[in-house]
Every structure is written in C-alpha cells, then in structure tokens.
C-alpha cells in the first residue's frame, strides 16, 4: 500500500534536527560525564597512567640513584634472559600456573559432585569456603608453622609411620613451591567448588532426566551431559585461577620467608625482589611488562576458547 505523499525532508530541517539532537545529547552527555568523571579520574590517575609510565620505564636505565633520563632500549628485556636462575623462576611460575589451574578445579569439582544433595550441604559449603575470606598473609603465617620441621604435617606424618620426621617443607628447593601451591589450593578450592555448584545448578534438569530415561549411567550422564554444559563455568573458574596463579604474591612472600632463594619462587616475587631489594627500578618494570603480557595472552587465549565452547553448546 502506498503512503500519502509529503514533500521530502529539506536540508534545512535536517540541519536543525541535527543541531537540536546534538544540543540535547550534549546536555545529557555532560550530565553523564559528571557521573563518570570521579571514577574515570581516579582510574586514569592511579591505574592507567601508571601502566603507561611502567611501560616507558621498562625502556630506561633507571636504578638506584640514577635519574630517569637515560634511554636503555631493550636492555632490561635482554637482561632478563641473562639472569642465571631464570630457569628456576620460569619453572616455578609454570608450576604455579598449572597447579593453580588444575588442582583447585579438580578438587573443587570432586567436592562439588560429592556435596550435591548431602545433608547439611550449606554448612559444608560454608566451611570449605571459609579460608577464602582469610587474608593470604594470615593463611601463609599459619601454614608456615603447619609446614615447619616440628609442625603439624610432620607431626601427623611421624605419628603415621611411627618415627620422628623433621622435614623442612619450606626450606627445600623441590618441595617449597608444591607446598605453597597446596596452601593456595586449600584456600581457593572452596570458591572453585561454590562457583561450580552454581554452574551445575544452572544446568537444566530435562536433559539429565532424559538421559536417565534412556538408561545412561551416572558417569555417562556426567561425562556427556553435565560436563559439556558445565564447560563455560569451568572456563570462567580457570581464567580466575590463571590470573591468581601468575600473580600469587602474598602467600609466597610470607611462606617463602625462610627459603634462601626466595627471589626465584615466581615471576611476581622475582619482579618485587629485583625492584625493591636490588633497587633496579627499570628492570622491575620490564619484568612487570613481561608478566602482564603473559597474563593477558593466556587469559585472552582462554577467553577465545571459552567463546568457541559456548558457541558449540548453543
């Protein structure tokens, strides 16, 4: 059906419309900016500016008493590869990342499956979650004594095998990182479990019931229905764990207190050590840049994988 004809909108009207639109938008945009400005200013000043500054710093020779003016090019990045104990740093960091991804997730998932429908589920959940609200510094302090040569672990193990054990879990190069990772797992498995339980609660009952009717076993149901539908949650949890693993600091700093090569315990600690204990500011900045690049790269890759998985489920 044809519409009645009216003359086309003239250029003058368009211009006027544009003017009125811009004026109105400017008015509301101004108000919007008033609301955004304080947050933006603080974030720009204390987070964004420092990031740029840090990036710039990493290309200077700045350390100790020297001024900021000397350009060093890629010197600090090259220096990183000349650090004699770099391989220790890298291995420990890798252990952290892999451990922080897999262990809390595996334990959290097992626990989540175990606790579903158990009487007193809420209380169990809360108690397993509790360590998460404690400060890493406090948790590290307690666990430092738990791992001590005369601490809880050795006492229990000694009672089990019937002879005295005084192993220094936090003083031996091959046990310190796994030991601190286990403390990390102790602290974070609760939140992993709760997030996974939330994810499971969101899975519709229908396909599970349909599979029951089709005669699937519990394992088959988990493997073919719950797990694929839970994958998006698993990815979210994994991303959180990766970042936590890369940047873990407080626990290592507190628990690694007595370990001689504390600087090699992870990239995050190494960065701190070079910056503040060795007064190599520019070098510290370069390590921070490398660490950021790794974190962003890995979480970006995981995000891409996550969106692929989600696309497949839909």
């Amino acid at each position: 059906m044809q519409a009645p004809q009216t003359p086309p909108i003239s250029a003058a009207i368009r211009a006027e419309a544009h003017r009125r639109e811009v004026a109105a938008r400017r008015r509301s945009g101004r108000v919007a900016l008033v609301f955004i400005a304080p947050a933006l200013a603080l974030v720009a000043l204390f987070l964004l500016l420092p990031v740029l500054f840090n990036l710039g710093l990493s290309f200077t020779r700045w350390q100790r008493f020297s001024g900021l003016d000397e350009f060093g090019g890629l010197m600090n990045y090259q220096r990183l590869f000349m650090v004699p104990y770099l391989s220790e740093v890298v291995i420990n960091t890798a252990m952290w990342v892999i451990g922080a991804i897999t262990l809390p997730l595996a334990f959290g998932l097992g626990l989540a499956l175990l606790l579903r429908g158990v009487p007193g589920e809420g209380l169990f959940k809360a108690l397993f979650f509790l360590p998460r609200v404690l400060a890493p510094a406090a948790v590290g302090t307690i666990w430092f004594y738990v791992y001590a040569p005369d601490g809880v672990i050795n006492t229990l193990a000694g009672a089990a095998v019937g002879q005295e054990i005084d192993y220094g879990w936090l003083f031996e190069s091959h046990t310190i990182t796994p030991a601190i990772i286990m403390t990390f797992v102790w602290q974070t498995l609760g939140i992993n479990m709760v997030l996974l339980l939330l994810g499971m609660a969101a899975i519709p009952r229908d396909p599970i019931e349909a599979a029951h009717v089709d005669g699937a076993s519990s394992w088959q149901i988990f493997r073919h229905i719950i797990w694929p539908l839970l994958l998006p949650t698993v990815f979210v949890v994994t991303i959180l764990n990766v970042i936590a693993g890369f940047t873990a600091f407080d626990l290592i700093w507190v628990m690694g207190n007595g370990y001689p090569a504390q600087r090699s315990l992870s990239l995050a600690v190494f960065m701190y050590y070079e910056t503040f204990s060795n007064s190599r500011w520019a070098f510290g900045a370069a390590i921070a840049v490398m660490l950021s690049a790794l974190v962003i790269l890995v979480s970006w890759a995981l995000t891409v994988m996550q969106s692929r998985v989600e696309a497949r489920i839909r």
Binding site: A24, R25, S28, G29, A32, L33, F35, I36, P38, A39, L40, L42, V43, L45, F46, L47, L48, L49, P50, V51, F53, N54, L111, L114, L115, G117, V118, F124, F128, V133, A135, A137, A138, T141, I142, F144, Y145, V146, G151, V152, T155, L156, W186, I191, L195, L198, L240, T247, F249, D250, W253, A268, Y272, T275, F276, W281, A285, A288, V289, S292
Partner: protein
C-alpha cells in the same frame, strides 16, 4: 481399582516409601565429613595454639591440647602491643570501609552515567575504565611507589584511601553496568517526568533497585582491601599508616622474637572482621560470586 486415601495406614505406608526413595546417601556424607575434618586441621592447630604460652608451644607437640585457656589473653595483648596491631587495625578498617565504600559509590555513579544517560561512545568510556583491571598488580607497583614518593602521597592515609578506591572501581563498574542495565528504562523516565533530577533518579531509583549487588560488591572490595599486603606494604611504610597485614608480617619478621603462639594469635585477630562479615552476610558473599562470573 479403587484407592481409599482416607485410610491412615495406607497413607503412612505411602509416606514411608517416598521417604525411603529420597534417603540421603550416608556414604557420601561420611566421606564429606572426613574430608572436612582433614580440611580443618589448620584451624584445629590455630585454636590449640592461641591458648599456649611460648614455652608450652616449644616444649609440647603442636597438636597437643593446651594446658589452660588462660594464656589466650596474654597472647592477644602481646600480639596487639608488639605488632602495633591496634593502630594498624584502625588504619585497615578505615581503608577498607572508605576504599570499598567510595569505590562502590563511584562505580555506581559511573555505571549510571554509562547505562542510563545518553552518552556517545559509552562503550569506549567503559573500556577505558575497565582496562585498569587487565593488568596484574605488579604493573602498578613501580610507578605507584615512585609517583607517590614524588607527590608526597606515599605513607599518607589519604594516598592509601585513594589508591584502594581506584583499584576497586573497575570490577564493581563491570558488575553494576550489568545490574543497572537490567533495570527497566521506564522507571527513570517515569521518575524524570515526575520531576526527579538526574541525581535523584540515581539515588532514589537506581541505587535502591540494585541494593543486593551493591552490598555484595562492597563486601568483596572490603575483604580485598582488608586482606591486601602488596599495596600497603609498598605504599604505607610508616607506623602511623601501616595496615594490619603489614603489621602481621612485621610481627613474624626478623627483629621481633615473638613465639609462634603470638604470631598465630595475631593471624587470628587479623582475620576477625572478614570472618564475622562472612558469617553474618554469607548470602551476599555468595551472590557476589555469581556477579563475578
């Protein structure tokens, strides 16, 4: 076949059968309880240790029960005075309350500006603020330390509040952008027609409708600030502005010769506020988790 549902015996039988079908798995309960006991061993250690004197601690096994409950107060007093925890806990409390409160409030205001007002390229503004969380904290340490040193903000109470506020803005903004966006647009149009200013719409319409999210976010940020060691140890080195976690670490550190009993007691003291919040506001903590994902 007729069923007489008025027969009580018949009904009882049915009920029994239904209950049997729904019986919880005692095996799983047993496994879960066992795991929980193992999980809570460090807490057991914590609770026996705070009642021991240093001498008792050194001479007995770490798992032994304390001789009496009396040493607890002495441990508390020692932790409190030696570690300067009184001052530190007031500092941390003010950082956590103000930092988390301001951050949540400012993020809420920004989220309002981004979602409820016509703003060109609102998305770009959001990304700009949110970019602050892309980087690990290590990226901020050097610039913040030296920036604060040059501007005199280092070792100042105000500097700490500002930096915590800034760090805690992006995450609530992300969450609140979602929660505010979910509130019907007509609500603020109706309020505007009724004469409400933008500030009024924000304060009387949007904020009350996102109360749950705001409380949860405040709690998460409060816990983060209270528990933070990294920023406070770098930016607040003087005793006047030291945070509770730095005080705890100093107590454990080199020059103090306090026994593990006192250090462990201090750990407990430093955890009291967050644990209490968790116990009483668990619902919000858990819902806060959901917000995060």
């Amino acid at each position: 076949m007729a069923v007489d549902i008025s027969d009580p015996a018949f009904l009882e039988g049915l009920k029994r059968k239904e209950r049997a079908r729904q019986r919880p798995s005692w095996l799983r309960l047993a496994i879960a309880s066992l795991l929980l006991v193992a999980y809570l061993v460090p807490f057991y250690y914590l609770f026996v240790t705070i009642f021991k004197t240093t001498d008792e601690y050194l001479r007995s096994s770490v798992l032994d029960l304390p001789n009496s409950l009396a040493p607890f107060w002495d441990n508390v007093v020692q932790a409190w005075t030696l570690g300067g925890m009184g001052r530190a806990s007031i500092n941390s409390m003010s950082y956590a309350v103000l930092g988390a409160g301001l951050a949540t409030a400012l993020a809420a205001a920004a989220a309002y500006g981004l979602t409820r007002l016509k703003l060109r390229s609102a998305n770009a503004w959001f990304m700009l603020i949110f970019a602050g969380t892309l980087f690990p904290f290590q990226m901020f340490l050097v610039p913040l330390f030296f920036g604060f040193q040059r501007t005199g903000l280092i070792n100042s109470w105000g500097g700490m509040v500002l930096v915590y506020t800034a760090i805690c803005i992006p995450f609530p903004l992300l969450v609140l952008r979602g929660s505010f966006g979910a509130i019907a647009r007509e609500i603020d149009e109706a309020a505007r027609i009724e004469g409400a200013s933008e500030w009024r719409v924000f304060a009387s319409m949007i904020v009350p409708n996102a109360k749950g999210a705001l409380i949860a976010l405040f709690l998460i940020q409060f816990t983060f600030i209270w528990n933070d060691l990294l920023f406070s140890s770098i930016l607040a080195g003087s005793p006047e502005v030291r945070s509770i976690m730095v005080a705890l670490q100093a107590l454990q550190g080199t020059y103090s010769s306090t026994g593990p009993n006192v250090v462990v007691t201090a750990s407990l003291l430093s955890s009291v506020p967050t644990v209490l919040l968790f116990i009483f506001l668990r619902r919000y903590f858990m819902s806060g988790l959901q917000l995060g994902t």
